[in-house]
């Protein structure tokens, strides 16, 4: 199947949906692809007991009211086809070749998941992952949960877990108490964030909220039964059924890198003040251009949508908003960047690459990422290093490579769709 659109948006979170709306309102024929079964991305994730939030309902309804918008869920971009075309796989329609006039990347972010002893046990998930799993219908009522890692996401996860009836026995934050105090004081610059923090931490009294602390080990027979936490110098062991641990977010830049878009020093897609990447016809918005939160993603998406449509409305108000949320993002990054304890290398027998069961000990003797891949198969499995690569960057400071096409496991039938077209770029 061949399709052509003026504008293709990859990702249906706050950035992608707002980009699509602005572009379609200006008359462009727009398609939005997202790999999840429902629109909203991670921050606006819906589920059987989680109705769409108001801002999602509003933008989704607007898109459905526009004649030239195609919203396709459960669609993955598998590869690139020259020129200006993607090979995608849809759960519903199978393989498709999709060409575009302009492309907006709104591919979001994933959690930075750092290994610790026992982290492969069922019951260990990311912190944001816990929230996603609960929203997807995973029952946690009565379960004892330890939420750990770093950043505001821990509090969002806490609120979701409690609302679902879980007993959150501790929140373990690696950032120090003093840097958190400074961060909370700075929230007066963004009153809506202060209100959000107050809502998420309602009933905080009685909860163990441990700063300057990290998870060291999970133990259990076949699934999580205990967690050991390093709190300052002390080791503390707690009984629990789940450990939800994530150290902030990393931008999803696989597609951007395959297209040849330049990245910035933080590993995010580099964009100018009109959200244009270094590649002609490719724009980017939201978390893939730097971790900044939902408000920033919405504004960036709207700017990108205006820019692709060729309309030149006054963007100055949006730019002021963007600067404001960028400053907030910088404060978040300064507060929650993984410190020494979080970056301490786990024991040699800890699995680093979960796809190929390669340990820290096997990888740390390698010179660099490519060496590790060739000698140990680290990063060569189904996730193509999306998890262990981010960990290797954190531990060893290595430059890691991005996944190659097919970017995700794909059906032969999808790959056959690509036959008439030479790939635009492979590594």
């Amino acid at each position: 199947m061949n399709q052509h659109y003026d504008v293709v948006v990859v990702g249906a979170g706050p950035a992608g949906l707002n980009a699509a709306r602005a572009a379609a309102q200006a008359g462009a024929r727009v398609a939005v692809f997202d790999d999840n079964p429902r629109v909203g991305g991670q921050v606006w994730r819906q589920g059987p007991r989680h109705a769409p939030q108001a801002p999602l309902r509003e933008v989704h309804a607007a898109l459905q009211g526009l004649p030239d918008v195609t919203l396709l869920s459960s669609v993955r971009v598998v590869g690139l086809l020259a020129p200006r075309a993607l090979l995608v796989e849809s759960a519903e329609h199978g393989g498709m070749r999709v060409s575009y006039g302009q492309l907006i990347l709104a591919t979001g972010a994933r959690e930075r998941l750092l290994p610790f002893a026992g982290w492969t046990l069922p019951g260990v998930t990311g912190a944001g992952a816990l929230q996603a799993l609960i929203k997807g219908g995973t029952p946690v009522r009565g379960e004892r949960i330890v939420i750990a890692g770093s950043g505001p996401l821990l509090l969002a996860s806490l609120a979701t877990a409690r609302a679902a009836g879980a007993q959150v026995v501790a929140v373990v934050e690696q950032a120090s108490a003093s840097s958190l105090t400074r961060f909370v004081a700075s929230l007066t610059a963004t009153p809506s964030k202060l209100l959000q923090a107050a809502q998420l931490t309602r009933g905080f009294a009685g909860l163990r909220y441990w700063t300057g602390s990290v998870v060291r080990e999970a133990r259990g027979a076949g699934r999580v039964e205990q967690v050991t936490i390093l709190r300052g110098e002390r080791q503390i062991t707690l009984a629990c059924d789940r450990i939800a641990c994530g150290y902030g977010l990393v931008p999803n830049v696989t597609l951007a890198q395959a297209l040849g878009c330049a990245l910035d020093e933080r590993g995010a897609v580099r964009v100018d003040d009109r959200q244009r990447t270094s590649v002609e016809g490719v724009l980017a918005a939201g978390e893939c251009t730097g971790i900044g939160g939902m408000e920033l993603a919405r504004v960036e998406g709207e700017i990108a949508g205006h820019v692709v449509s060729g309309a030149t409305p006054d963007l100055s108000t949006l730019r002021v908003q963007r600067s404001r949320w960028q400053r907030f993002a910088q404060r978040v990054e300064d507060t929650f960047a993984p410190g020494e304890a979080a970056r301490a290398l786990p024991s040699d027998d800890t699995v680093l690459c979960r796809c190929e069961d390669v340990t820290i000990g096997e990888v740390r003797v390698c010179r660099e990422w490519r060496d590790a891949k060739l000698h140990t198969r680290c990063g060569m499995g189904a996730c193509q290093g999306r998890v262990c690569g981010a960990a290797a960057r954190t531990y060893f400071g290595w430059q890691t490579t991005q996944p190659r096409p097919p970017f995700h496991p794909a059906q032969i039938g999808t790959l056959i769709q690509a036959v008439d077209h030479e790939p635009a770029s492979t590594e």
Partner: protein, 88 residues
């Protein structure tokens, strides 16, 4: 995409039948069915969903005969058949 609250769907997971609320993800249905994991790793260890958002591939299962489908990115449907390679 959306489903009415309260509507139920029935699916089969490793020969067990389980009924869940419409809109539930397969990864949640596995837990509801009492499974402890989704797959067995290269070295024979049990694994379950880690990232919950289509990145880590730990939750891959066979859905209606299609191998390597991600349970965290698939909604339950009536009559669906799921096969895992994880611990019973």
């Amino acid at each position: 995409m959306s489903s009415r609250t309260g509507e139920r769907v029935r699916l089969t997971i490793d020969a067990r039948t389980v009924e869940v609320e419409a809109g539930t993800l397969v990864v949640a249905a596995l837990v509801i069915a009492g499974l402890r994991g989704t797959r067995t790793s290269v070295n024979g260890q049990p694994r379950a969903a880690l990232c919950g958002m289509g990145i880590c591939q730990e939750c891959r299962v066979t859905i209606d005969g299609r191998a390597h489908a991600l349970a965290c990115q698939t909604a339950c449907r009536d009559g669906q058949i799921i096969q895992t390679t994880g611990p019973a």
